[in-house]
Amino acid sequence: MSDAHKSMAKPRRSFVAKLVVRLPYAWLVAFFLVPFLIVLKISLSQTAIAQPPYTPIFDLAGGWHGIASFFAGLSLDNYAFLGSDPLYFLSYLKSLEIAALSTVMLLVIGYPIAYAMTRAPRRMQAVLVLLVILPFWTSFLIRIYAWMNILQHDGPLNRLLLALDLVREPPVWLSTNTAVYIGIVYSYLPFMVLPLYATLEKLDESLLEAAADLGCPRWKAFWLVTMPLSAPGVIAGALLCFIPAVGEFVIPDLLGGSRTAMIGQTIWTEFFANKDWPTASAVAVVLVCLLVTPIVIFQHQTMRGIERD
């Protein structure tokens, strides 16, 4: 469709048409690209007791000499510092571990839900999709706060457990890793269910019927037909959950304990508490690199898949 349109598009565009592209383009360059370049630049700077608290500062007034001394002032010291202090390495590791484990849990919980949704009558499916999306738009902060309510020492969960005689002593939930996992799984479930549902819904049912006609038991047909065909949904859902979970701040901060320092919190503390902007920037740059890698691999795989078909 876009190809057909391309030939139609007039080579010369009016002033208004140019504005359609240039306005959002300029906005994104100014408020997304440039800020990110600034982060990159500050990650190569040194901390200084000044306002702004880093050096060197880009100063065009200094002329050619000023620009030269600016570049001479940049260094990789902050990155070396990140490498030398195990605190950062452990924080990255912890974030990746929590994000990966949560993604697996989300898959285990989300897959049956998405599958059951496709089995529901057509009319009900639209309502179910809305029901899954709705909490996703309902304030993130408030949904985490709702769990603070439930998980507190004499909160509803512990009362239920005590009433059912499942525990003798009320267990501690808040400020533990368990609470962080609960928070992530709860908040990200729609991200997992929706792409899975979108893939499973498109699945050609005649394939399963063919398998059944040929004498394949249902569980085996599920394993051999449904599972492989839903792989794109699994990958999309896993990426949609894993990537934001790595950089999560609110969930570990409110539900986790002081020992659950995820990398989002590290950036926050470096920035607000320690006022070490260059280190915070370096931590952020490394995080972006960590997150971009799975996306690039995914893109590469999809491209190969398209070429194969």
């Binding site: 592209v21 709702a146 934001p244 989002g264």
Partner: protein, 266 residues
Amino acid sequence: MRKLSAFNLATLVLGIAFLYLPIVILIVYSFNASRLVVVWGGWSMHWYAELAGDAPLLGAAFISLRVALVSATAATVLGTLAAVALVRFGRFRGRLLFAAMIYAPLVMPEVITGLSMLLLFVAISVDRGFWTVVIAHTTMALCFVAVIVQARLVDFDMSLEEAAMDLGASPGRTFMAVTLPLILPAIAASWMLAFALSLDDLVIASFTTGPGATTLPIRIYSEVRLGVSPEMNAVCSIVVAVVGIAVIAASLLTKIGAARGAPAGN
């Protein structure tokens, strides 16, 4: 008609219960008469009444609403333009970078978006406050708007636009008379989602805010860090109600739009 198996039905019921129970518990506790959050003291509107006298909280709510109104509107305009550029302009110079800048913020951790925005404002020495939060929220939300409107433009019956052009309408006129009315529900829906996103954001606002521009999530966050309180239950219940209504309205609008603009025979 297919029938749900017992297993699938149970999965759905449990799944939906897991998603909604925490919010329901929160709302129920907000009507608890007792000062102790965990002790049930009967139904009461006491904490809602208490909120009416909490001036800093009301101030923060007012700032949040203003930020959300302005940033949602700006994001909708810019995001719609971006979507039109992506779908209808074929290949133009820098399209790849443009598309990347629209998708990247969607997956960028909020901490990094907030940090980079703040560093920009410091670098150009702008005093942080209301407008810096508005700019940050506009940038974040315009990407969501672009993606939603783009999806609508892609499955749009092109023959309608072509017919208008064949009859001699200029591209601008065609857009205003044919395209815009048909994608209007998607635009309205994305405005509401942008509004909800802005009202909800804590991390980006914390980085870009300044004196006198404490938004509601920042205020709520500083309170809930200290623990659960009945007032917070009441505030959160109100926010859930407001955002919930906006999202249901938005999804109804999208549905109307999909029914109106679908290609013939669908």
